[in-house]
């Protein structure tokens, strides 16, 4: 019940905006070829449900694989970077490259490297989502409390033990923040990859746009955001399970 009540505040803006859009189109304030009525978006979703949900599934798999890859690789890179100042100075600037790479510009190259289809889409999701994982994990690992670090040293703990028993758990809240940002980016990256590499929601958006089917474009975008929300929720769940016993953010 308390859960249900906590959802209500989020539903109010949704209802207000939806109703306003519906009325604005119905009474001719906004042309339906510019902004589709929510009812026509719903109709498009029902009419093309097989196509749309098939596409959603394809995009979900690619986004998820890209996201998992950037989670694993991002954390590994951050641990590597945290091992010494010199390594950090040498390699961190190149990690920043991932954040600034204009994915839309290199996407055609991804197609040539990885071929049309899933591999290109996964690569695109990976490239745009890895940086927040690296940056947040690194900053988490580096901000371990000095007193605790000294304590571990005092008891003669090895570097590995310190990493897994102290630095890593202490960095978890920040790592999870990085993952939250990365999850949304992975969905965007997957869809951009699909514009160029074909298949999934990206391809549906591309085709619907060419056909001037604004309602179908919105239906596909809506499903993409549902996917983003689902990933976000998944990370919040992980965060709740791992942090509730000791971190203020989940208490």
């Amino acid at each position: 019940m308390r859960r249900l009540r906590s959802v209500i505040p989020a539903l109010i803006p949704l209802l207000v905006v939806t109703a306003a859009a519906e009325l604005a189109v119905r009474y001719g304030f906004v042309k339906s070829y510019l902004v589709p009525a929510p009812s026509s978006v719903l109709r498009a979703m029902i009419e093309s449900r097989a196509e749309l949900f098939g596409a959603l599934l394809t995009t979900s798999v690619s986004a998820l694989v890209g996201f998992l890859l950037s989670t694993v690789a991002g954390i590994a890179i951050a641990v590597f970077l945290s091992s010494s100042r010199a390594i950090q100075r040498a390699f961190y600037p190149y990690a920043v490259f991932f954040q600034t790479v204009p994915i839309i510009a290199i996407a055609p190259l991804l197609v040539i490297w990885f071929g049309y289809g899933t591999r290109t889409v996964v690569a695109s999701a990976f490239v745009v989502s890895i940086f927040p994982v690296i940056a947040n994990t690194l900053s988490g690992i580096l901000s371990t409390e000095p007193a605790l670090r000294d304590l571990f040293r005092l008891y003669g703990a090895s570097t590995l033990v310190t990493l897994f028993k102290l630095r890593f758990p202490a960095a978890l809240p920040q790592i999870l923040t990085g993952l939250r940002v990365a999850s949304g980016l992975a969905v965007i990256g997957a869809i951009v990859g699909e514009f160029i590499g074909g298949q999934g929601l990206g391809s549906v958006v591309d085709v619907a746009r060419t056909q001037q089917r604004v309602d179908k474009v919105f239906a596909a975008v809506l499903l993409a955001s549902v996917l983003g929300l689902a990933l976000f929720g998944l990370i919040n769940l992980v965060s709740y399970i791992t942090l509730r016993r000791w971190h203020a953010s989940e208490q």
């Binding site: 055609p108 049309y116 085709v207 060419t210 001037q212």
Partner: protein, 311 residues
């Protein structure tokens, strides 16, 4: 203090407000970057017709026809099938001048595959880069079937995938990408989409119904200027090409010249010699409307004589 500073900027605000709706300013929204397919629009003597025209170049996915319908551009350049689809959805846009009398779209393949026709290509397999949302893509699918080929998204004007793979075919403008490919050493063969029976007008100057009612004189002046522009560009594309090349340096000057030459037969036909450059017929619009209805691109068929206006 506050009031005085407001007074000082008030004239500037008034000026800005005026500049938005000054009667002289006309915006022409293109659906691609400046290149020879728009040559006549860049060559047109707008000022001599009392018009102050600003050309807005576009890119992949620029919603040109929606812009015209919504009034964020007074004129636009789209293709006839887009216009029919837009009209069937209640976007009141009207064609005024059809630059390309015949559909310049085609599928280019490597000549080494020795294919004889479009039917051959779709039987032979390999990859075909095609924008699936386009009506002709569905027409090809209906006619030849896509089960033997792999359909991938069109890379726009980029031909690197084509150059890298002998079994790669891609949609193109007959007078554009094939020239670039030849320029880069490929042996190219092109099948026009009109071979499959799909031949809408393309690169069509359109305006909104409301502009046409409000300001028929300037619409008329626009068409006259554009027609003169195309006449001039057909006769001597060189000065305009130079100007467009400055705006779009990614295209080589010799490609500009080659395309301008290759597109001539699409623009000046026996029909335009009789009826004038850019002219359109109701019959052609009707054929297109019937095709789009059959393909399922439109639910309601707009009237053919609402689609265009001879000014």
């Amino acid at each position: 203090m506050h009031r005085r500073s407001f007074l000082r900027i008030a004239p500037a605000i008034a000026l800005l407000a005026n500049c938005g709706k000054s009667p002289g300013k006309i915006r022409l929204a293109l659906n691609w970057k400046p290149d020879p397919q728009f040559g006549g629009f860049y060559a047109a003597p707008y000022q001599a017709h009392g018009l102050d025209v600003e050309i807005l170049p576009g890119g992949a996915g620029t919603p040109t026809i929606q812009m015209v319908g919504a009034g964020s551009a007074e004129f636009g350049v789209v293709s006839a099938d887009e216009l029919v689809v837009a009209r069937s959805q209640g976007n009141d846009v009207v064609a005024l001048y059809a630059v390309f009398q015949n559909n310049p779209q085609g599928i280019m393949v490597h000549a080494s595959r020795k294919l004889a026709s479009l039917a051959d290509l779709f039987k032979a397999g390999g990859t075909v880069a095609l924008q699936r949302g386009l009506p002709y893509a569905r027409l090809l699918e209906k006619k030849y079937g896509f089960d033997k080929v792999k359909i991938v998204p069109s890379p726009g004007g980029d031909i690197s995938a084509f150059l890298a793979d002998k079994n790669f075919a891609q949609q193109c403008f007959i007078m554009s990408e094939p020239l670039t490919a030849k320029h880069r050493g490929a042996d190219v063969q092109v099948f026009p989409v009109s071979d499959a029976g799909y031949n809408p007008y393309t690169t069509v100057l359109v305006t909104s119904g409301s502009f046409l009612r409000k300001d028929p004189d300037r619409a008329k002046a626009m068409v006259a200027a554009v027609r003169e522009g195309w006449r001039a560009y057909l006769d001597d594309p060189k000065p305009t090409n130079q100007r467009m090349n400055q705006l779009n340096p990614s295209m080589a000057p010799e490609v500009f010249a080659g395309v301008a030459d290759a597109q001539k037969p699409f623009i000046e036909t026996d029909e335009t010699r009789r009826n004038g450059l850019g002219s359109m017929t109701e019959e052609r619009w009707q054929t297109l409307i019937v095709q789009l209805k059959e393909l399922g691109d439109i639910q309601q068929a707009p009237a053919a004589d609402d689609c265009y206006r001879a000014l």
